[in-house]
Symmetry: C2
Subunit: 187 residues, 2 copies
């Protein structure tokens, strides 16, 4: 028997993403977002939704670019901080002890210390209500050498990404492997 909760922003596992933007004066900013992900495989696109009231919103609109960083479990405090404080008031990079690097392909920064980063060029904006969904064409995915597996690809067990449960507002890491995609269901 299922219990109904009505329309709620409930999904058990949403990704913790750090949105990197420059403001009008070129000050870099990071903001935490959990409303986002991959939305097209070719061209590769990713989406992230922000409220208009955020400092990062105008950065994306003006520069037509953003980065999405995936912090590691050890950076959960920095990740949460980026969602609490506004870049309008402080230099969040400096406050968190992170270093801003300009994207190689887009006019947006990312944090050197974050192990996994995606550079996106803005291609669509969809006004949905409280949030605007930005769609970015992925120009590059980059990862620290230290989080690459033996096959050269980024390794989740080394990146140690964070997921967010919006129901109880809890961050978690990932658990054990449950098997290979396009394989375990073949039986």
């Amino acid at each position: 028997m299922k219990k109904s909760f009505g329309p709620q922003t409930y999904l058990p596992a949403t990704p913790v993403l750090l949105v990197g933007t420059y403001d009008k004066e070129g000050k870099p900013n990071l903001m935490t977002a959990a409303w986002g992900g991959i939305c097209c495989s070719n061209p590769v696109c990713m989406t992230v939704s922000l409220r208009k009231a955020t400092y990062s919103y105008s950065g994306i609109v003006e520069r037509k670019a953003f980065t999405l960083g995936v912090p590691s479990q050890s950076q959960v405090r920095e990740a949460d901080y980026m969602g609490i404080v506004s870049g309008a008031k402080v230099d969040k990079f400096a406050e968190a002890g992170l270093h801003a690097i300009k994207g190689d392909f887009v006019d947006a920064p990312y944090a050197e210390e974050i192990p996994f980063v995606v550079e996106c060029e803005l291609v669509e904006s969809l006004e949905l209500g409280l949030h605007t969904m930005f769609v970015g064409k992925v120009m590059d995915v980059k990862a620290d050498e230290s989080v690459l597996a033996e096959d050269g690809l980024p390794d989740v067990s080394l990146i140690k990404p964070i997921v967010y449960d919006p129901m109880h507002k809890i961050y978690s890491g990932l658990g054990e492997s449950l098997g290979k995609g396009f394989s375990v269901g073949r039986k």
Copy 2:
């Protein structure tokens, strides 16, 4: 030092979602998707991206509705199966031993056995290339009584959702809690 991979559908943790649709004749279908998530808090909206070639695509377009189910770790084989086989050829519900229930609010089905379900009414479609991103207005979120916490809300540790790593094509469960959102970063 970061290594560049170019434009890739890489993110360390994407959600495993089961998209529920009816076809023209009313046959229910489920399809696995990992390109999706929450995209607006008010009105609550969620997105899922499908290729035009999928059987589910026309179901969403015709009925203007879909459900998003979140399977549990013990259902990883069923979840993977739904991404391998096409509903054009088989009755995937029957093959997987799942029972289709019509949504209470939308013209789309969900599986009784899946612990967490979202009912969505189609409000936007965005053609991005290989994938079309569908935006659904959330009409209801529902969860099995057996996965509710003492406070009455859905509990991630009981739902045991699955995340997918598109780099190595590996499913994982969630790990330990890393702390509370809007809290651990206050320090």
